[in-house]
Subunit: 170 residues, 2 copies
């Protein structure tokens, strides 16, 4: 465990200096939230709050929201919006990766950029659209993971997307 602990100490040092050089104060709640999201990537605000409470039992969800929002626009966290689910956060920033979500169980996986590096930022515009200077390209893949393909309709699973609805039964 010493190994992992050392790793987190190093990360904490990095985060601290990053915060410092951004002119932001280094607080226990910020470090705790960063550690929580590092430990469980794609965590929601609720997840993060629950994890942080191991260290700071009195923290509220609202504070976690504030911290998450602040760290996100400080560039230390990245916010992901998956369909029909609360926002999620991860510490992997600045590496141009994308996400795949299983429509069966809601599982989220990281995906490397499909087209290398730059092409992601050069869209081909639709005929009737005005141009923009693109800064980010978020790609969200949706599909079925192996587990869900084998067990098609399992109502006990967490289903974040539109559930069942077997139309056309006539």
């Amino acid at each position: 465990m010493t190994e992992a602990a050392r790793h987190f100490d190093a990360l904490e040092a990095q985060w601290s200096s990053a915060l410092h050089s951004l002119g932001r104060r280094v607080t226990r709640q910020r470090l705790a939230v960063l550690a929580a999201v590092e430990r469980s990537p794609h965590a929601t605000a609720d997840d993060a709050a629950a994890a942080v409470r191991a260290e700071l039992p009195h923290i509220t969800v609202q504070s976690v929201y504030v911290v998450l929002a602040d760290l996100t626009d400080a560039g230390l966290l990245r916010r992901i919006e998956t369909p029909h689910s609360p926002a999620r956060y991860e510490t992997r920033v600045n590496d141009n990766h994308h996400h795949a979500v299983c429509t069966g169980c809601g599982r989220i996986e990281d995906v490397d950029c499909a087209v290398g590096h730059a092409p992601c930022l050069t869209p081909s515009w639709a005929p009737d659209s005005r141009r923009m200077t693109i800064q980010i390209a978020e790609v969200m893949y949706q599909g079925l993971c192996d587990d869900c393909r084998e067990t098609p309709a399992n109502p006990t699973d967490q289903v974040p997307d539109s559930p069942q609805k077997e139309q056309n039964e006539r």
Copy 2:
């Protein structure tokens, strides 16, 4: 106007038969919602409700929500989730196009698929991820449109994304 009216009559006929062949009933509210979204693409549920009320003054937002959800999983509408904004809908379905949102004013533009057709569905997986069978690839570009680049900080504009927050002023 006869031209446009004829166009909408044709669309309405298409929608009706599509609904019919899906085993769904053809109702005035469904047609009105489809027409509203056709007229203003990327409309939110509220937008749609407001537009529909021109024709059906008594419709409620809840009903519009139900209709939008139903039409979406019937495949007649596509739901778009832009960051920090309610869900939006459009009638352009099945043509594999993407979207660009201006972080300044929130404007949304359609973007043709950047990498042709199939490549969008073949991600290169991150080393530690499990595979999925990809069905959809949603691409969301973010950037600044020409207007917003010229007038950097205009607080009167609608800013759906993280607003101002001029950090590091010391």
